[in-house]
């Protein structure tokens, strides 16, 4: 995978976030403050604009630039968290012109670990990590037969779906306590969407 692959991924992610923004905001209205979709839409639109204006030449640089844009434009918790995910993953990829599936898997797991550290969260807290961790782990275990990115998509979607039964322990939804149970986590849902676009682009 080269820089062009990652540019296609982020363009697809921006289009998907734009398409799904209202759904994400509705999910957030149930247990947060009804802005997850509109915030991500603003951030990914800025990512698409920045990457169009000056597309970087390596996978790592594409992800790092996208992460910086998210930190600078999204706000809320999702700005620093998604920004850190992409920046850290990009940094792990270094200056390589092309990266393998295994290298991307390792870099993604480092990026996800950075998100966990920044947010002080772990899987099961009903956050984006509930989709990011299984997704990144699936790419790590991808030497099995079949499309590795499809496994990522499926694992992340399953993780996001499972947040419905969880009680939130982090972020604004945590203030709801038991009342957060029965709702999908908007962060896990947007993370699943991000990995779904990765599978779409890899196909």
């Amino acid at each position: 995978m080269d820089a062009a692959f990652f540019l296609r991924w982020l363009a697809a992610a921006a289009a998907a976030v734009d398409r799904e923004a209202d759904r994400l905001t509705e999910l957030d209205a149930a247990i947060g403050d009804a802005d997850h979709g509109s915030n991500l839409r603003r951030g990914f639109a800025a990512v698409a604009t920045a990457l169009d204006a000056g597309p970087p030449g390596t996978p790592g640089a594409v992800l790092a630039l996208a992460g910086r844009q998210l930190i600078s434009t999204v706000g809320g918790a999702s700005g620093p968290l998604y920004g850190t995910l992409l920046r850290r993953t990009g940094k792990e990829l270094g200056d390589a012109q092309r990266v393998s599936v295994a290298e991307l898997g390792a870099a993604l797991r480092a990026g996800v670990a950075a998100v966990a550290q920044l947010g002080g969260s772990a899987p099961g807290d009903k956050t984006m990590l509930d989709a990011l961790v299984p997704g990144a782990d699936a790419l790590g275990a991808s030497d099995a037969a079949g499309d590795p990115f499809d496994a990522v998509r499926a694992a992340a979607e399953e993780g996001a779906r499972a947040t419905e039964a969880l009680r939130a322990r982090k972020g604004r939804a945590s203030y709801l306590g038991e009342r957060s149970v029965g709702h999908l986590d908007p962060g896990a849902s947007s993370s699943a969407l991000l990995f779904a676009t990765l599978a779409e682009v890899a196909r």
Partner: protein
């Protein structure tokens, strides 16, 4: 939807243009989303910078001026500002004496301000941070992200701002800010839901004839819902919730806050009940303030914030302040 807006996307920028036109004593960067007192940086003075989601006006921009904040960073509605704003603000107000960030305890605000602290320090600005977490409605435990920051933000910014104005060094301003936060507790009640421009309607469903006890300033649910109560009953419940946690041994400063859509006629009536119950509980009130200071857009409701004050905090509270929303002694 009955909102006095153009389109949801420009509400924050439109409000900033209005602030710029109304308050020539402020410098308003509409594009960069930073509100700065015009005479900043003030030589020899520690600077105070705060910020958070928009929709809580006059917090934070309304508290920029002599004796309070040097700069404020408004985010999108109910969304934390981004680190670029805080770094820009810190650079604009730092006189070399350092900057204190006043941060309300919400995950987004904390993360963005923490990133900003690192970036500002990279640029050679000395930064300290105080976290405001006064809301007793949700308790601090391993199962929550800690208490929310609400009305005490006003006490922290006013009192620490006065200390900075007097020339106290950064460590001292930070210590006073922490003392004020540790001495303050709040409890809020919603009589109606708030509406965000982006959603175009109520952010949660609160049926007519019910109220939410312990509501957050973004409409986050609190402890429980009940059928409508009288002002007297709400005052008893709210003050007792605060006193249960604060247990003051000193007299208090009192803020009777409106949530944005409750008229002063009702707030003053509520203030009378709050004073009554505090007197019944044997808690003397040194100063009190009634009005919309830390709001939740068009939410109807009220909040009680108490700050236990020693002589020095009282002196700093009484010190002159000149901002769009708070003004005395100047």
């Amino acid at each position: 939807m009955r909102m006095l807006i153009n389109v949801p996307e420009t509400v924050v920028a439109d409000a900033l243009r209005g602030m710029a036109a109304t308050h020539p004593e402020l410098t308003v960067d509409v594009e960069g989303r930073v509100i700065v007192r015009r005479d900043a940086p003030v030589a020899g003075k520690v600077a105070l910078v705060s910020g958070g989601g928009s929709g809580h006006e006059p917090l934070h921009g309304g508290f920029v001026g002599t004796g309070m904040l040097d700069a404020a960073c408004p985010g999108e509605v109910f969304t934390s500002p981004v680190p670029d704003q805080m770094v820009k603000a810190a650079a604009a107000v730092d006189s070399g004496q350092g900057v204190l960030f006043v941060v309300k305890n919400y995950t987004g605000d904390v993360l963005n301000f923490d990133m900003a602290m690192e970036l500002a320090e990279d640029e050679g600005v000395r930064v300290a941070k105080v976290l405001v977490d006064d809301d007793v409605a949700v308790t601090d435990s391993t199962h929550t992200a800690g208490r929310r920051g609400t009305g005490a933000t006003l006490f922290v910014e006013k009192i620490a701002g006065a200390a900075a104005e007097e020339g106290a060094p950064l460590e001292r301003v930070e210590a006073i800010a922490r003392q004020v936060n540790a001495s303050s507790r709040s409890f809020g009640v919603a009589l109606s839901a708030c509406s965000t421009p982006a959603k175009g309607g109520p952010t949660f469903a609160l049926p007519d004839g019910e109220l939410e006890l312990g509501v957050g300033i973004h409409g986050e649910p609190g402890r429980e819902r009940r059928p409508m109560m009288t002002s007297r009953e709400i005052a008893d419940f709210s003050v007792d919730a605060v006193l249960e946690d604060l247990r003051p041994t000193n007299p208090v400063l009192l803020l009777v806050g409106g949530a944005g859509a409750t008229p002063l006629l009702e707030l003053y009536g509520f203030a009378a009940e709050v004073h009554r119950v505090l007197a019944e509980r044997g808690v003397p009130v040194l100063r009190s303030l009634v009005g919309n200071y830390v709001t939740s857009l068009d939410m109807a409701g009220c909040a009680v914030t108490l700050c236990q004050a020693d002589e020095e905090l009282l002196r700093l509270w009484d010190a002159p302040v000149r901002t769009p929303a708070l003004r005395w002694g100047l």
